[in-house]
Amino acid sequence: MKSNLKRFLRKNVIMPVVLLVVITILMKVTYDAVNDAERFYDLTGWLLQATLQSATPLILAALGGMYSEKSGIVNIGLEGMMLMGAFTAVAATYFFYDPWIGVLAAVLAGGLLGIVHAIITVKMKGNHIVSGTGIILFAGGFTTLMLEVIWNRKGMSEQVTALPNVNIPFLRDIPIIGVAFDNLSPIVYFTFVLVIVSWYVLYRTPFGLRLRAAGEDPSTLDAAGISVEKYRFIGVVISGLLAGLSGAYISISFGLPAFGKQMTGGRGFIALAALIFGNWSPFGVLGAGLFFGFLDTLQFFVGFVPAWAWVQGYSQFIQMLPFVLVVLALAGIRKSVPPKAIAVPYEKEVKA
């Protein structure tokens, strides 16, 4: 009983309390920095909004990685798929003047690379890491090449139409919340929906059960007469689709609506870290993604607080935090349990 209480406390009280303390300190510091109610609302709102904005590509890509890894296929090629998505989104928007077509094309392009990864790893039983590396290299080269072919420019493409942001009329006038949640890209809201849908699909549908079984215990799945290959294939392709969407968000929905050489800037790898830090579960990924997004924002935030300006000289250490935390998490401060049969190619047993 006592241990139960302890566990309950640890699980449900400590984290919120810590979060509350951190948030209170941050708000106090913010208020001191601006000393003006309206500015304070705006700045706090920005902190939340920027967290959401930087977290969205991470969460999307990490969710994709989750589908793949749950089915037993390691996908370190997320970075390449994102880059491909980012490029295709801009190219399609450029040709068709409609960013929604760009998003669709990006999703498909990511999925196409997902199919390549699936063929190599699932069908051909190739090495997952090697295939992922190949995808990253290929996407990096291919997108830069096509950048020059299509726009005859180096480094950065022409600007295209951006995906319009969603305005929620009644939210706008609420302080903090208005700045934070209004006027965001539709993909941000969609990401939250996707997290819930992913949880439902994975844990409440037969499809999810089979997908997880393909990663945890493929031979049982096979014994039940269900094709392991099929589910792994689907898992990898879904990961490509989501990574493509994440890329589209980076290029045409956030920041300058143009494609720049290597514009994903290692976000695919941070997404991988978020996946592990989030313990391969949809809500874990959501939490980890938001946390990493928050860290991303924090390094800029310190610049606005005069008392903390010295921290800017150490911003590399803030940037390092996601990576260090994952290493610490894996080293055993927190238990991370990857799917059991991950990275093990499944060979159907030969029936005599």
């Binding site: 068709f96 063929i119 069908k123 997952h128 190949g134 080269g141 096509m146 590399q316 990576f323």
Partner: protein
Amino acid sequence: MNEDSLQDIGNQSDEPQKGLISKLRADVEKIRIKMVDSVEDAPGPIKSIVLAISNLLTWIFWKPVIWALFSVLLAVITSAVIMELAGYNSYVAFSALIIGALRQFDRVLFFATPLIFTGLSVAFVFKSGLFNIGAEGQLYMGSMAAAILGYLIPLPYGIHPLVCLATGAIAGALWGWLPGLLRAYRGAHEVVTTMMLSYTAILFTQWLAAGPLKELGEFQWNAQTTRILETAELPTIWGNYLHAGFLIAIVCVFVVAFILDRTVMGYEMRAVGLNEAAAETAGINPKKNMAMSLAIGGGLAGLAGASEVQGTLHRFYNQWSPGLGFDGITVAVLGNNNPFGCLLAAIFFGFLRAGGNAMHQQAHVPIEMVGVMQGLVVLFVAAPRVIQWMADQSLDYGKWFSVEKARPIQPIAFALSMVIALYGAYFSFSLLGEAQLGLMFIGISAVTSVLGIVAFFLLFARNSRGIIISLIMSICWFALAVIGMGAGVDIGFMILVGLIQSVLAVFSLLLVKGVGKSKGGDA
């Protein structure tokens, strides 16, 4: 942990083979045995040389070589197609690349030098069943350590470079040892930890170079350390580029080969890599070996950084490496994780890099094409069964001709359909540039090109579903022609392609109906 699929090649050599290849292999084997027999009584040195050469004739040796060569070939073909689609002349590009690289062979070796080190690093770690994906971070730590020692401590000529190299290696080794320990004693997966530590190292060295170790001076504007002393520099040995680091890399190739094949440690590491549980039963400590292996791998990557700093950069620049650690993976993969294979693979990639500039200047193909080729090579090497599958299918396809000697119409019809499907895929892909014709047109073109590739492979596998897809493709052609009508596109050609394809498809379909369902072979 099972990432042995790369090693399959060495192990699966005795699987039974059929047909032409096996006959060829048997013949070669006969020659080899004859050779070995003929030198039975020859004096020692000659005998050992002949024995060594005779080993070249074994399938164990040739299979990975052929496999790698085929991957390169497929990658070259694919990138030629990409170049043509992008509107470049692939012939001019490749000849410029080859001639450009040959004319400046010192550049080739210069580019190969760090790749040899990082390739060895990845390959060595792989031998013990682990994957060192973070060679980049170890390289940064090594280069930083070498740069610090290079400018801080004055030492005499001769000793200084060696001390710097050693420090670089130790720094890299420590950075590799950490994930090794975590893997061995905490079970933290090394793919993830090395990758994360690699980013950590890049940021950490950036902080050092921009902060405490930044070079001072009125006109010093960048995040970089002070230039290393002249005593610490590695001399240039050939041309304008190649420095003595290359010689060290060659030495490392032999040392790594020696460690792996001739020492107890190497034997133990390989045993752990092949089967961890079995090795433990045999009294080998897998944990110690894993940590050790990652440490040595890290040391090799650290050497890469140190030799670059001492040989060419002469100081640490923030983010100086263009992904050398990452390229190490590709080198190890293409080199089949064999030290000598890594050497050749590194020279091959160095060749691409050195020739890339000539290709850019003469054929105006962007240098990124080299990256595309590199990625394709890796993708093809990653899937050993692709080549196996293609070899099997083409053998069976060839047999198909000989089986139906009297009536080879069906294979011929299939072959023609294959050609037209492939051409259709190419042609429709090139139509993607006609964006002004609207979404419908582009969409159908994209579908057609995908269908063409699918049809090609299905037909190649002698699967009758390929004909159906071929038929759908021809319908797409007519649809494209209808949409493109009056828009200035050459629709006559599309109709022609569509007609030929549909006639061929119907014809093949009739033939197949006569014979029955497809002849097996799943795609």
